[in-house]
Symmetry: C2
Subunit: 317 residues, 2 copies
Amino acid sequence: MGAASGKVLALAGGVGGAKLALGLANVLPPEQLVIVVNTGDDEEFHGLRVSPDLDTVMYTLAGLANPEAGWGLAGESFEALKMLSRYGAPTWFNLGDRDLATHIRRTELLRQGRSLSEATRELCRGLGVQHAVAPMTDDKVRTMVDTVEGLLPFQEYFVRRRCEPQARGARFHGADASKPSPAFDEALGSARALAFCPSNPFLSIDPILAVGGVRERIRAFTGPRLVVSPIVGGEALRGPAAKMMREMGRPVSCVSVAEGYAGLCDLFVIDQADAAHVDEIKALGMAPHVTNTVMNADRDKTALARFVCRLLEGGGQ
Amino acid sequence: MGAASGKVLALAGGVGGAKLALGLANVLPPEQLVIVVNTGDDEEFHGLRVSPDLDTVMYTLAGLANPEAGWGLAGESFEALKMLSRYGAPTWFNLGDRDLATHIRRTELLRQGRSLSEATRELCRGLGVQHAVAPMTDDKVRTMVDTVEGLLPFQEYFVRRRCEPQARGARFHGADASKPSPAFDEALGSARALAFCPSNPFLSIDPILAVGGVRERIRAFTGPRLVVSPIVGGEALRGPAAKMMREMGRPVSCVSVAEGYAGLCDLFVIDQADAAHVDEIKALGMAPHVTNTVMNADRDKTALARFVCRLLEGGGQ
């Protein structure tokens, strides 16, 4: 990758996005990568500001993430949460003791008048994360899942209700009035390439696209734009993407994902399991590329990141 | 004690006060005791409101206090604090994981517009504390220690500097404009008796007396008023009271303590070690009473509380 100059802008949600983000961070030096993360999931618990996707990316890059759970830190204790429960606080959202420190510190920095971007930078510095991690926006955008029971705040739907209510779509409260964070704004103007990490298109990527002006700017982006499909072999590797597709009456397939990216993507990366779909992808105006997209071990993440970087250096051919 | 009616109002600071408060709670039913606690030590750490003396009393009554440390909860872990330290937050004030939950919950309740009295009641309910524990005031009063290095906020002096700087006295910022908390106000008007627990007179009791109108109301209090001396055998059992007396040029003796309570106290309880001082106490217009005031085991606390209650039932004779 040595010859490339300029930055790759990676857009990520939670676990799947964090895996490719880690791969990219293994492959690209800090000055060539900026990871912009969904904050539509952000919520306040116990008066503390929780940014689950930012934390998942940050913890993953710091080597501290809990690989089994898909959230939080490895080897966590939950003493504070047990005590909060004694005090009658609602504790359906799991917060470990060390994780709580992140939210305590973030909340304090925000109350001192720092932006979420600045707070994130400081937290990353504390954990030794050298690559740039930025929120999609410093404004308040809240993902609401449109279900048959009505609109549910994201964490209500995702954690408390375990994605059970039938979903019809999502809305992003505050998105119209929001602006991209400074790092996102700069990267939209100057990055040499853009990669959508394999995150839930409805709940992780759509909120990023809903931030004021972002969809239009990605439409007009001149560098290569690449998507890694989060749907592999007709299933989501994690989370409710496949379930939501079914509930919204769409085929659960990488092709359905690709349809959502029409006009926003040049290169569409699918798993070997989906090689049969290449012609459908082509028909949508994207160049399909087939590789192993299932990232279990660290070497899978690095290998996929190398594959992605090679494609992006190719300039979208 | 069964015959008595009305409440005993106990005034307490941290550890020493909490010990007698526990003894009184072992002896008196909840409807006959209200424990009013110093909040001049309160401080904000990491954006969270910490009320060390309230918590010491509450944890002690709940049977959860750490008996060795004199602060915090028994068997605490410190995972969050270690993480806060990684984030560059100042961590000289020790906060355990379960203790943090108390501060998180209190801060949330206060931000929701509840008073410190209400928040304390809710925390006590969560821990199963049945006796009334109330802050001296719901207003902001901050103890500043007047040292040769200048005014130091209480926790700076007490924890960060380990009481090293030579002290000349203390001031209580905000006290003039403060009002007693509702429970304190009610008890000042209707309690049948008043007991000053063996707490540091300069740093635990004086802030309570500094709350608007309190000194005058205790001066005019018609029931028996009792002090248990925190100085035993010329030393403080805990904390900087003796050191401060020396620095302020006073003899380190229960008599110096008694002098500070002139006009506020009828019954002055001293330890057997100080039996030689009974005439000096009498000369100050207080009735001296000698017993064991060193509370190590639970039975010591209960025995001293029984002794105190018997004296208070005697009506100040």
